[in-house]
C-alpha cells in the first residue's frame, strides 16, 4: 500500500517536472471541433480575432445567395451565431484558468483563480510557497480536467445550436408554406363572397346568405393575418439563432420532403447514441472525475496537508469540480471520513444520473424514430390518398357543375378541402423534419441519407479527463 508520504513525494516530484500551462485556446478549439466533426458537424468558425480577412462574411454571403434550407441554417449558426461564439469563448476562459492554475505564486499573496459554471471564483490560496509548490501539479490536473469538461460542454452547445437553427429554419419553411396555402384559402373565400354579393345584387340571394358568405371571407382573412404573423415569428426566431439582422435579404428554400433514411436498426441506433451523445460523455466524465477525487482524498487524508476538491452541482445535473483547497491541519479530530462519505454519495448520485440518462437516451432515440416513422406514414396517406381524393373530388364537382348539379359555393368548398388536405401534408412534412432534428439530437450526431457513419471517435479529443491522483505519469505540456 502506498503511504501518504510516498504520495506526497510523488506529487512533489511530479510538480518539479512540469511548467506552466499555455494560455492559447487554439488547441482546445481544434479538439472541440474534432469532437463535433466526429459527430458529423463541421464548419465551426472561431471568431476570436474577429473576421479581419472577411472569410466568414464571404461564406455567409455565399450561403444567403441561395435559398436557405435546414443544413444551410446550421452552417450559418456555426458561422454567425453569437451564442455559439460565446460558447467557443468558454474554451478560452477554461484555458486561461488552466494556465493560471499552473502558475507558481509570487511570494506573499497567491490566488487560485478558478472558473466554474460561468462564474469566476477567486480564492485566496495559502500564502505559503511550499504548499503552492506542492499543489501545483494537482491544480494543473484539475484545470486540465475542467478544460476537457468545457470542451464537451462547448461541443454540446454547438451541436445543439446547429440543431436549433435547423429546426428554426424548418419552422420558417413550414410557416411560409402554410401561410401561402392560407392565402389561397383566402382567395377562395373572397371569390365566394364576391359571387354572393353579385347574386344578392341580382335579387337571387338573401341578404343573410350573402352576409354569411362574406363573414366566412372575413374569417379567412383573419386566419391569413395570423399565419403571416407566424412566418414573421419564425423568421425572427431564426435570425436570433444564427445571428443575422433583419436587413439581410435572403429567402428560405421551399419546404421539401426530407430525404428518406435508410432502414435503420433501432437497436444499433441506440448503441450509437450511447456512444455519441455528448451529455452521456459528460456524465461519464463526472463519474470518473468523482471517483478520482475520492481516490485522491483517501490517499491524502493522513497528511498534515488536507486537500479538498469541491463538487458543485450544475443545473443540468452535471458536476463541476472546484478547488483544490489546501489546509494545514493534523488529522487528529477530523480524519476526513465525513468528506469521504460525501464523495461516495456524490459518486452514487452521478452513477444513478448516468444510468438515468442512458435510459433516457435510448428512449429518446426510440421516440424520435417513432415520430419519424409516423410522419412518413402520414405523408404517405396524405400524399397518396387524401390529397388525390380531394383533387379528384374537385374535378368531379367541376364536371357536375356543367350539369348544374352543384353550384359555385360547393365547388369553392371542394377547393378549400383540397387546400386543407395540402396544408395537412405540409404539416406532416414539417413534422418529418422536426422528427429528423429530434432524431439527430437523440443520437448526438447528424444522419445522412446513405447511412449513419461510424463515429471517428478520436480518442485524443475525448479522452477521459484525469483529475490526478498523483499516481500516474504526467504529460508534458507547453511551458508558460
Amino acid at each position: 500500500m502506498r503511504t501518504p508520504r510516498k504520495t506526497l513525494l510523488a506529487i512533489a516530484l511530479a510538480a518539479s517536472a512540469v511548467g506552466c500551462a499555455s494560455i492559447d485556446p487554439g488547441p482546445a478549439v481544434v479538439a472541440t471541433t474534432g469532437i463535433l466533426e466526429a459527430r458529423g458537424v463541421s464548419g465551426v468558425a472561431w471568431q476570436a480575432d474577429g473576421d479581419e480577412s472577411g472569410q466568414i462574411a464571404r461564406k455567409v454571403e455565399e450561403i444567403l445567395g441561395q435559398p436557405v434550407g435546414p443544413a444551410e441554417a446550421g452552417r450559418l449558426a456555426l458561422l454567425r451565431s453569437p451564442h455559439l461564439q460565446a460558447s467557443l469563448a468558454d474554451l478560452g476562459v477554461a484555458q486561461a484558468a488552466l494556465a493560471q492554475a499552473t502558475r507558481f505564486a509570487n511570494p506573499g499573496l497567491s490566488f487560485a483563480f478558478l472558473e466554474g459554471s460561468g462564474e469566476s471564483q477567486r480564492t485566496t490560496g495559502l500564502a505559503a510557497d511550499v504548499v503552492d509548490w506542492l499543489t501545483q501539479p494537482l491544480r494543473r490536473r484539475l484545470g486540465e480536467a475542467e478544460l476537457e469538461h468545457t470542451k464537451l460542454e462547448v461541443a454540446a452547445a454547438l451541436f445543439d445550436g446547429v440543431a436549433a437553427a435547423e429546426l428554426a429554419l424548418i419552422e420558417l419553411q413550414a410557416a411560409e408554406a402554410v401561410a401561402a396555402a392560407y392565402e389561397n384559402r383566402e382567395e377562395g373565400a373572397q371569390a365566394a363572397a364576391e359571387y354572393a354579393r353579385a347574386l344578392h345584387e341580382a335579387g337571387n340571394l338573401t341578404l343573410r346568405d350573402r352576409i354569411l358568405v362574406e363573414a366566412a371571407w372575413a374569417e379567412a382573412r383573419a386566419d391569413g393575418v395570423s399565419r403571416r404573423e407566424e412566418t414573421e415569428r419564425a423568421r425572427e426566431q431564426l435570425l436570433r439563432l444564427v445571428g443575422l439582422d433583419g436587413g439581410t435579404a435572403w429567402t428560405a428554400a421551399p419546404l421539401a420532403r426530407p430525404h428518406l433514411l435508410p432502414s435503420l436498426d433501432p437497436g444499433d441506433l441506440q448503441e450509437h447514441a450511447l456512444r455519441d451523445r455528448l451529455d452521456l460523455v459528460a456524465a461519464r466524465w463526472a463519474v470518473d472525475a468523482l471517483d478520482r477525487v475520492r481516490g485522491l482524498h483517501r490517499a491524502t487524508r493522513w497528511l498534515p496537508v488536507g486537500v479538498e476538491i469541491g463538487v458543485e452541482r450544475e443545473s443540468g445535473g452535471g458536476v463541476r469540480l472546484t478547488g483544490p483547497t489546501v489546509e494545514l491541519a493534523l488529522p487528529i479530530f477530523d480524519t476526513g471520513s465525513a468528506m469521504q462519505a460525501g464523495y461516495e454519495a456524490e459518486i452514487a448520485r452521478a452513477r444513478a444520473q448516468l444510468a438515468g440518462l442512458e435510459n433516457r437516451v435510448r428512449s429518446e432515440v426510440r421516440e424520435a424514430l417513432a415520430a419519424t416513422a409516423s410522419a412518413t406514414d402520414r405523408i404517405e396517406v396524405l400524399e397518396n390518398d387524401l390529397v388525390p381524393a380531394r383533387r379528384r373530388a374537385l374535378e368531379l364537382a367541376v364536371r357536375e357543375s356543367y350539369q348544374m348539379l352543384v353550384g359555385v359555393f360547393e365547388l369553392l368548398e371542394a377547393k378549400d378541402q383540397l387546400l386543407e388536405a395540402e396544408i395537412s401534408l405540409l404539416e406532416a412534412t414539417a413534422d418529418a423534419w422536426r422528427a429528423r432534428v429530434d432524431l439527430v439530437r437523440a443520437l448526438g450526431r447528424t444522419i445522412t441519407s446513405s447511412a449513419i457513419p461510424e463515429s471517428k471517435d478520436p480518442k485524443s479529443s475525448e479522452k477521459r479527463p484525469e483529475p490526478s491522483t498523483g499516481h500516474e505519469e504526467m504529460k508534458h505540456d507547453h511551458a508558460s
Partner: protein
C-alpha cells in the same frame, strides 16, 4: 341461365309473337309442378330452364331488337287477331301460347341493366329483360294463366291492377297469397271479364319494387271492337326515378326529389318516336305507378279521352283535351286522328319532368353580373366555367364538349334539324307522315315552304306598347 333462344325471351312483336305462340303450344309437363306452392299438379308449367339460376342472381335476359312493322303487316295482324295489336315503344309485348283453353304467359322478375338513353345505364328491376315489363295483351273473355318466376333477391307478387278476378288471384302478398320467394314460380289463373287498359305490378315491398321499375301493361281488347278500327295503338308508361347523377341504381328512399323521368324506361333523347301515317286513328294508353301525376300533352292535335281503368267511356261522354293528367295508380286511353303531318312533341307538361337530372339546391345565377368573379373562380378551380347567368340553355350547348359526371344524361339534350331541342325525360315525338307504308323512323319532317317560323329584319315598333 336463360339464353335469348328461350321462348320467353324471343318475344317478337305482336302478331309474330301470337303466331309463334300458336306454333309453340306444346303441352309441356312440369316435373316440379307438385312442389310449387299454391300450384296444382295438373297445371302445365314453363320450361324447366326458367327455374334455373340462383335466387337473386337474375337471369341474363336480353330483349330482341324488333324492326318496326309495315302497314301491311299491321293490317294482316288485325285481320288475324281481331284487334290491332298494341305497340309498346322501346318495350315488348309478352309472348303467349295456347294451352287448351288457356292463354299462357310467363313473367320473370329479375334485375336488368337498362339503357335509358345513350350514356346512361340503370340497374333496375323489371320483367323479361327490361322495365316496364312486357305488355300482356289478351281479349275480353280469354282465360289467362300467367306464370311468375321470381329471380329477384327478395320475394315478390304480381297484382293485376284494375282487373276483375278471384280474390285469391289479386296478388297482394300476405293478405291474399303467400309471397313468391326468390327462385319460386307461381301461377295466376283468371278469366278476363272486362276490357280496357290495365297494369300489373308487385304488391310485395311495393314501394321499393316499383321505385326500381317493376310494372307493365295489361291490355284487354274488347270482344266487340268499335266500328272504326284503331290503326296505331301505343302503350306509354311514364315513370320517375331517383337515380342520383353518377350512380346506377334507383334509390327507393327518395319520396319527392326524383331526378329522372321516362316513357317506357327511356329518357329523351333515348325515347323512340311514335310513327303514324297521316289520318291514322291513333290510340295512346297511359298507366302510372309513379309517386305523382303526369299531365301528358300533345302538340298540334287534340285527343279524346275514351277510356279509364273502368273501361270504355260512352262516345257521348268523350272529352277533348290536349293535356291529360295521369295520376298515380291510374290508366287512361286517348284517341285522336293524326290529321296534321309533322313532328309533334308528346311530353309531360311538368317542365322538370321533361328534362334530365339537375341540382335543385344551388344558387340561381340568372341575371347576376358574374363575369369578373367567374374569371377569378376559373383561376382557383381549374375547368370551372361560369354558366347560367343568361339562363340554362348554354348547358345544353356545352353538354356536347364538356365531360359530364359518369352515367349521367345532359340535363337538356337532343339535336333537331334546327338546333338543340333542350329537352329530356318524358318527351318524345309523334311523327305524322303522309302516305308512309312502314312505321320505321322517317327522319325529320320536311316542312312545306313558308310553314316554318322565320327571322325578320324589322320588328314592329308600335305593337308591343300601348
Amino acid at each position: 341461365m336463360i339464353t335469348r333462344r328461350d321462348w320467353l325471351t324471343s318475344a317478337a312483336l305482336v302478331g309474330g309473337a301470337a303466331l309463334a305462340g300458336r306454333r309453340l303450344s306444346a303441352q309441356t309437363q312440369d316435373p316440379h309442378a307438385g312442389h310449387a306452392q299454391g300450384g296444382h299438379s295438373h297445371h302445365p308449367a314453363p320450361p324447366a330452364e326458367s327455374h334455373h339460376g340462383a335466387a337473386g342472381s337474375g337471369p341474363s335476359i336480353v330483349r330482341p331488337v324488333v324492326a318496326p312493322p309495315s302497314r301491311a303487316e299491321v293490317r294482316r295482324m288485325r285481320a288475324d287477331l281481331g284487334y290491332t295489336p298494341v305497340t309498346t315503344p322501346d318495350g315488348i309485348t309478352a309472348r303467349w301460347r295456347r294451352n287448351v283453353a288457356w292463354k299462357e304467359f310467363h313473367l320473370v322478375a329479375h334485375e336488368v341493366d337498362q339503357t335509358f338513353a345513350p350514356g346512361m345505364t340503370v340497374k333496375a328491376w323489371g320483367y323479361n329483360g327490361g322495365t316496364p315489363g312486357p305488355t300482356i295483351e289478351a281479349v275480353e273473355g280469354d282465360s289467362v294463366r300467367i306464370f311468375v318466376t321470381n329471380h329477384l333477391p327478395e320475394h315478390t307478387t304480381v297484382h293485376w291492377h284494375g282487373l276483375f278476378l278471384p280474390n285469391g288471384m289479386d296478388g297482394v302478398g300476405g293478405l291474399l297469397q303467400p309471397h313468391i320467394r326468390p327462385g319460386e314460380t307461381y301461377v295466376y289463373e283468371f278469366e278476363l271479364r272486362q276490357h280496357g287498359t290495365f297494369m300489373y305490378h308487385p304488391h310485395a315491398d311495393e314501394m321499393v319494387q316499383m321505385a326500381l321499375g317493376m310494372a307493365g301493361f295489361f291490355i284487354v281488347h274488347p270482344k266487340r271492337p268499335r266500328k272504326e278500327p284503331i290503326d296505331r295503338d301505343f302503350c306509354i308508361l311514364p315513370h320517375m326515378w331517383a337515380i342520383h347523377p353518377g350512380t346506377y341504381r334507383p334509390d327507393p328512399m327518395v319520396m319527392l326529389d326524383f331526378d329522372l323521368f321516362t316513357f317506357n324506361g327511356r329518357a329523351f333523347p333515348g325515347t323512340s318516336p311514335l310513327v303514324v301515317r297521316q289520318d291514322d286513328r291513333v290510340r295512346l294508353r297511359f298507366a302510372n305507378v309513379s309517386m305523382t301525376s303526369h299531365p301528358i300533352h300533345i302538340h298540334g292535335h287534340r285527343f279524346w279521352v275514351t277510356e279509364t281503368d273502368g273501361g270504355q267511356i260512352p262516345e257521348s261522354a268523350w272529352i277533348p283535351e290536349t293535356s291529360l293528367d295521369i295520376v298515380a295508380g291510374q290508366t287512361r286511353a286517348v284517341d285522336f286522328v293524326a290529321d296534321a303531318p309533322g313532328d309533334w312533341p308528346l311530353h309531360c307538361h311538368k317542365t322538370h319532368h321533361a328534362m334530365n337530372a339537375m341540382g335543385h339546391d344551388l344558387p340561381n345565377p340568372i341575371g347576376a353580373d358574374l363575369e369578373a368573379v367567374g374569371r377569378k373562380i376559373s383561376g382557383l378551380v381549374p375547368g370551372f366555367v361560369e354558366m347560367g347567368t343568361t339562363g340554362m340553355a348554354e348547358h345544353a350547348e356545352h353538354a356536347g364538349h364538356m365531360q359530364l359526371p359518369e352515367n349521367t344524361l345532359p340535363m337538356m339534350a337532343g339535336q333537331g334539324p334546327f338546333g338543340s331541342i333542350e329537352m329530356g325525360g318524358m318527351f318524345t315525338v309523334v311523327k305524322v307522315r303522309d302516305g308512309i307504308e312502314s312505321y320505321g323512323d322517317p327522319g325529320w319532317f320536311d316542312h312545306p315552304d313558308g310553314t316554318v317560323a322565320r327571322r325578320v329584319e324589322d320588328a314592329p315598333t308600335d305593337l308591343a306598347l300601348w
